[in-house]
């Protein structure tokens, strides 16, 4: 029940984003991914969740036990908050536990349509999906964007609790987020050197 990444290199649209990234996380660990815009935080999280294939290197992670919360919130605007929650609880085959929702203060919003939510309310609904999924590995891409102070605190507590129960959390963020004893990965240190380009069209001369 661990995540192990070894010498990972990933590129997007032929552009190498980072290379030689390695880390290992075991039960209860948290990893805070940092780095300036465009350094590949989102890319790393997508690779971990299996949406992007690595160029080289290996990722060992239980795909079935992972959930990814991207910049988008996976909300259907034509469904109410309640209906959105019900759908995900069915997809993950897990009951809609009230305790899982309270941190995000969704109760007053249950009958509102997805399209009518404010930016932060959307984010809260998006994060509720993560809590519902019951997955062991949480991959959260800038989860605190648009969240107000109170909910940010609640999210930190939820993460802390998840780690206590043996979960693993990978979080990318530009903002202060309180993850006790978290490992840190600064992606700005892993810019691939121009020499180790894997693009076959740069090999040799024509």
């Amino acid at each position: 029940m661990t995540i192990e990444v070894h010498n990972l290199a990933v590129s997007r649209g032929g552009i190498p984003i980072f290379a030689d990234v390695s880390f290992a996380l075991s039960q209860g660990d948290a990893l805070l991914v940092k780095g300036p815009n465009g350094s590949g935080k989102t890319t790393l999280l997508r690779a971990l969740s299996g949406l992007i294939a690595p160029d080289t290197g290996t990722i060992s992670i239980e795909q079935e036990e992972s959930v990814f919360a991207s910049h988008l919130d996976a909300i259907k605007s034509a469904l109410t908050v309640q209906q959105n929650l019900n759908f995900w609880s069915k997809i993950y085959g897990r009951p809609l536990d009230q305790a899982v929702l309270t941190p995000f203060d969704l109760d007053p919003l249950l009958d509102r349509y997805g399209s009518d939510l404010s930016a932060g309310q959307k984010r809260r609904l998006g994060l509720a999906r993560v809590a519902i999924s019951g997955a062991k590995n949480w991959l959260l891409d800038e989860p605190t964007n648009s969240l107000d102070q109170k909910i940010t605190r609640a999210l930190e507590a939820l993460i802390q609790n998840h780690r206590k129960n043996g979960g693993i959390v990978v979080v990318s963020s530009h903002q202060k987020i309180d993850l006790p004893q978290a490992k840190t990965l600064d992606l700005s240190a892993f810019k691939p050197s121009v020499e180790r380009n894997t693009d076959p069209f740069l090999e040799g001369a024509f």
Binding site: G14, V194, F201, L202, G204, A205
Partner: protein, 242 residues
């Protein structure tokens, strides 16, 4: 051990093909010119059709190669999907515009031929209809390549389209038989049995024209693949800068 897959490396491919391009050009233009000039100037007129029959030297080879270009694309697509050789994907991409041109030549010459023979430029005959469908498939394939910015993704998706499209093109070919009785004549050059109904005077220049079209296809294919490889390298170099 030298394997044929080594040519899937772009640099190797460029180096190897560079040596063939010159001779291939000469050979293909010469063969094509021989076939077309011979056919046009030095064959007798048909007793029924008069000189109109000479359209055959353009029509038949281009029709044949229009289909073969698609088959070649299918093979290249499968190679890309299975072995992920970039050159193969680019070769498939390079073949499409050539295929379109050959399809258009077959249809244009056929249309001109149809007027005196059938009294119309166009008829919804099974064979002509199949060519119309083929043309649309070519357009769709090219449009999908153009629409996608990420070239590896484009290679994946166009290859899948080519695969599925081939199956449905065959199905359509079969289906149109039920829908329309043909005007177009059947094949009169059964290569397998060798019993042909065409005289040597017409047939030998036709063979040259066919050979010319085949060679021209190969030449253009290599040239366009080389262009595509260069463009990819330009893209990669630009990406490296940033």
């Amino acid at each position: 051990m030298a394997s044929i897959w080594q040519y899937a490396n772009p640099a190797k491919f460029m180096a190897t093909t560079a040596r063939f391009m010159g001779p291939l050009w000469v050979l293909s233009i010469a063969t094509l010119a021989t076939g077309l000039i011979w056919g046009f100037f030095f064959t007798p007129d048909d007793f029924k059709q008069g000189s109109t029959v000479k359209i055959i030297y353009l029509h038949v080879p281009s029709a044949m190669m229009a289909i073969n270009a698609w088959i070649m694309m299918l093979v290249a697509s499968l190679i890309w999907l299975i072995r992920r050789h970039h050159v193969s994907a680019l070769a498939a991409k390079a073949a499409a515009p050539i295929g379109v041109t050959f399809t258009l030549i077959a249809m244009a010459t056929g249309a001109v031929w149809g007027k005196p023979m059938w009294g119309t430029y166009w008829a919804w005959d099974p064979r002509l209809t199949s060519f119309m469908i083929l043309l649309i498939f070519y357009f769709g394939y090219i449009a999908l390549w153009e629409a996608l910015e990420d070239k590896d993704l484009a290679a994946d998706l166009t290859s899948i389209l080519c695969m599925v499209g081939s199956v449905f093109a065959l199905l359509s070919r079969y289906a149109v038989q039920f829908w329309s009785q043909g005007l177009h004549q059947g094949t009169s050059i059964p290569l397998v049995t060798g019993e042909r109904q065409v005289d040597d005077v017409f047939f030998i220049p036709l063979l040259f024209a066919m050979g010319g079209f085949i060679l021209l296809f190969i030449t253009l294919l290599l040239l366009r693949t080389r262009t595509a490889i260069r463009l990819r390298r330009i893209q990669a170099l630009k990406a490296k800068e940033t």
